[in-house]
């Protein structure tokens, strides 16, 4: 089984080691990639087809075929913003197609609030070797980001 995970935001695809948070950069949450988003108002989209099993303002999880879950975290330490600067465009429990907008935000505002807007995109419960990058460098929202074997 193979899952293609899409970039939830436009920007620059990075390896997790470049994420300024050791919980993500060390792969503690799981393997994946990150996107350093373009600064400006944008909509973060679903990275895979599936169900939104958890929806916070600053992070969401979509679980798809075979129960595979992908976490999208909008910025680092953004839980502390308590939702300010994020607007939900979907509801927890919704069935979504990859590419559907989930949260509206502006990475420039996150940065202005003193936090990194870098977005880790994590394959939950995946082995590190199961994930292969499909993009590094510039990506648009909805572009293929990594393959999860």
């Amino acid at each position: 089984m193979s899952t293609t995970v899409l970039a939830p935001v436009a920007g620059r695809a990075l390896v997790l080691a470049q994420v300024p948070d050791p919980v993500f950069s060390a792969g503690m949450v799981g393997p994946g990639l990150a996107v350093d988003p373009e600064r400006g108002a944008a909509e973060a989209v679903a990275p895979i087809d599936g169900q939104i099993v958890k929806l916070h303002a600053h992070a969401f999880i979509v679980a798809g075929a075979g129960g595979r879950g992908v976490l999208v975290h909008l910025g680092i330490d953004t839980v502390q913003l308590k939702g300010t600067g994020f607007r939900l465009l979907a509801r927890e429990g919704d069935l979504v197609s990859a590419g559907r907008p989930i949260v509206a935000w502006n990475p420039a505002d996150i940065e202005a609030a003193g936090r990194s807007p870098v977005c880790p995109v994590i394959a939950l419960d995946a082995a590190a070797e199961a994930v292969a990058a499909l993009a590094l460098g510039p990506v648009r929202a909805g572009d293929e980001l990594f393959r999860w074997e």
């Binding site: 919980v23 958890k54 419960d125």
Partner: protein
């Protein structure tokens, strides 16, 4: 059956680092172990997806359960992680 009930103390709840540490420790165990909110359905404590989706907030009480060799020690260790500030 070994079981511990603890209150999650971390400000972020059982997310981010506390969740990752909890699941990594559980995943190393050779026995099944579950996590539940008090009165709720238990989930696989070895799954970061399940633990994050359970969405345990600061101040919530959880029950950690395991059965088999080393169960007592395992739930003790996990309880300490879950209740760390």
């Amino acid at each position: 059956m070994a079981e511990r009930r603890v209150t999650v103390q971390a400000e972020v709840g059982l997310h981010a680092r506390p969740a990752a540490t909890f699941v990594q420790t559980a995943a190393k165990a050779g026995i099944d172990v579950t996590l539940a909110k008090v009165g709720g359905q238990p989930v696989n404590a070895k799954s970061i997806l399940s633990v994050l989706a359970l969405d345990v907030r600061q101040g919530e009480n959880v029950v950690i359960s395991a059965e088999g060799d080393g169960a007592e020690e395992l739930v003790e260790t996990l309880a300490a992680i879950a209740s760390a500030p």
